[in-house]
Amino acid sequence: MAKIELNGVRKTFDQTAILKGIDLTIEDGEFIALIGPSGCGKSTLLRIIAGLEPQSSGEVRIDGVQVDGVRPSARNLAMVFQSYALYPHLSVFDNIAVPLRMRRHSALARMPLIGRLHPERGRTERGIREDVERVAAQLELAALLKRKPGQLSGGQRQRVAVGRAIVRQPVGFLFDEPLSNLDAKLRVHMRAELAQLHRQLKATFVYVTHDQAEAMTMSSRIAVMIEGNIVQIGTPAEVYENPRDIRVAEFVGSPKINAMPGVIREDRGLEVLGRQLRLNTTAAAGRCTVCVRPERMELGPGPGAIAGIVTHLEHLGAEAFIHVKVDRIDLPLLARVSPDQQLPEIGSAIQLGFSASAVRAFDATGKRIDVTAPARSERVREKALG
């Protein structure tokens, strides 16, 4: 089992900075998800941990040992690739056996033809067979051992790739978007299986994905990467509820968080769309952005409610989203509502509000600013607007 530490890891490709100084400590046995929009450098970071790509500067430590310049196979990490990367000419059994054969056989015993004459080979090969069959049984692949990867479904291939990773009992696992080639239903199923596998193996998992649902459901911590930096690290709930940066707020959560232009007044009061909020801040006066999650938006009139026109309705069965066009904002505001209530007509006028506790405010540079409700407010659940 392994603790993985990254200190000031930078990577540049032809003068383009991909990673701009990553500091990250991944605890032993942790399931950490690296998420971020495509091109944010998360896959590059994973490949640097794996040793497939050298970093431009900074260091990687595994269990306290610096591994720069150590070959990928010697780092004792296993990786599961997005495309599974199974050897197309080998059977499932041989695919899973490759890492064991490369480790346990001597170079001579691996030679084609003459390797068979090697005295140790038979005994080692029996050990390999036992291990492969144990892993195959664990992943329900026992019936497929003789097939070639071309004859397997996407989910089965994925399991073979996992099998090849776990068979040699590495200290850590690296996953590079392993579920993105599966259909939606299978993805949900594999999500549960991977989380189960983590509980079973108790090894360190580093999981790269752009799918926040995967990150939220499986990981113990999420690291949000944007433009080559880790912007926030925390538990899924923390990252969702308490984004430290507007880019995190906008990336995490689907549909996207509602962002409204606001102003911090000289008297520390907060205004949004020209309406005063019953919130104070310690931040300096100036422009800011006020964000509210769609599920925290409330329909109906109230003091200071925002008026708009319904432009689109999305009825998803268990929930419904109402898109509301509001003056002075380009993107429509979204409200998530329960579908049992009467949904408004498209084109009809509607009013939106939200409570003070739903507000997440960010300054002009995108950093989170703390807001507090004035002490005089004593109502349990008070409208922020009004």
Binding site: R47, A50, S73, A78, M79, F81, A85, L86, P99, R164
Partner: protein, 278 residues
């Protein structure tokens, strides 16, 4: 004209054009078989006839095998072409892998040089190579027939283009599994490249089995002759060329190629379909 008529006319023209093309290519072969089946007296006649009046194919084969050591020529041909192909693969695969998948300074320049080498005709280097082999004292040997062709720029180019299409993930998975770079070439790249290798094999074997120019220059000994040189030994300027046995010998030496091509063609097409599905 209705569209139906038009399609019939077009189909007719198309097929006649194809038939003309096929006839143009197949006629020399038919003529070879026909001549090989005729006795000497029937070959030079005023009228053209394909079917011989008296069937002399077996006699001509017997004469051909009696007059020259055809088996020896065939064995020479196999030794030379197979050695050339194996050595070409041994050199082209690692080179192509490096050019396609490894990052190093000067890679593009090296690849441009490989492309440039394809442009050099073998005749241009024939005399320098001949002089070099003379100095080394290896003229008139199997080595002289094989060594000049072991590095195939075309082979490197072809395999490099194919390796470009192999996903990087596969190579990185192999590295994670602990396979060395040379191991990747032989254990991972070679098996995925079988279709491209088959195509290259066809080009290589056909070219060197049929090569007349280079063996003619470097060989003196009769026992080293490759099949095309062997056939040429039937030409006799004083006594007149004996065409019946010559054509029979020609049939014998092209037969392995035709059979090999028909067998390989199936794999070849299978290979192309396989890569298409991927």
């Amino acid at each position: 004209m209705t569209p139906r008529h038009r399609s019939i006319v077009w189909s007719f023209t198309r097929h006649s054009l194809l038939l003309c093309g096929a006839a143009f290519i197949l006629l020399p072969f038919l003529w070879m078989i026909s001549t090989a089946s005729k006795p000497q007296t029937e070959i030079f006649t005023k009228s053209i006839h394909f079917i011989p009046h008296s069937f002399a194919l077996w006699d001509n084969f017997a004469t051909a095998f009696g007059k020259a050591n055809l088996w020896r020529f065939l064995v020479n041909g196999v030794v030379v072409t197979v050695s050339i192909f194996l050595l070409q693969v041994l050199i082209a695969l690692p080179a192509a892998y490096a050019l396609a998948k490894l990052r190093f300074a000067g890679r593009e320049v090296l690849f441009a040089l490989v492309l440039f080498c394809i442009l050099i005709p073998p005749q241009a280097t024939a005399i320098p190579v001949f002089l070099l082999f003379h100095k080394l004292g290896i003229l008139d040997s199997y080595a002289a027939l094989i060594v000049p062709f072991t590095i195939s720029a075309f082979g490197i180019f072809l395999m490099r283009q194919f390796f470009k299409t192999v996903p990087d993930d596969l190579i990185e998975a192999a590295r994670m599994d602990g396979i060395s770079e040379f191991g990747i070439v032989w254990r991972v790249m070679l098996p995925t490249a079988i279709p491209a290798l088959t195509a290259f094999g066809i080009f290589s074997v056909v070219a060197h089995w049929n090569d007349y120019f280079w063996p003619l220059i470097v060989l003196n000994s009769e026992h080293l002759r490759t099949p095309p040189l062997g056939v040429a030994s039937f030409r006799n300027e004083e006594a007149g060329t004996n065409y019946g046995p010559l054509m029979a010998a020609a049939i014998v030496i092209i037969a392995p190629l035709v059979v090999a091509f028909l067998l390989a063609q199936r794999r070849f097409i299978e290979g192309i379909t396989l890569t298409g599905i991927k």
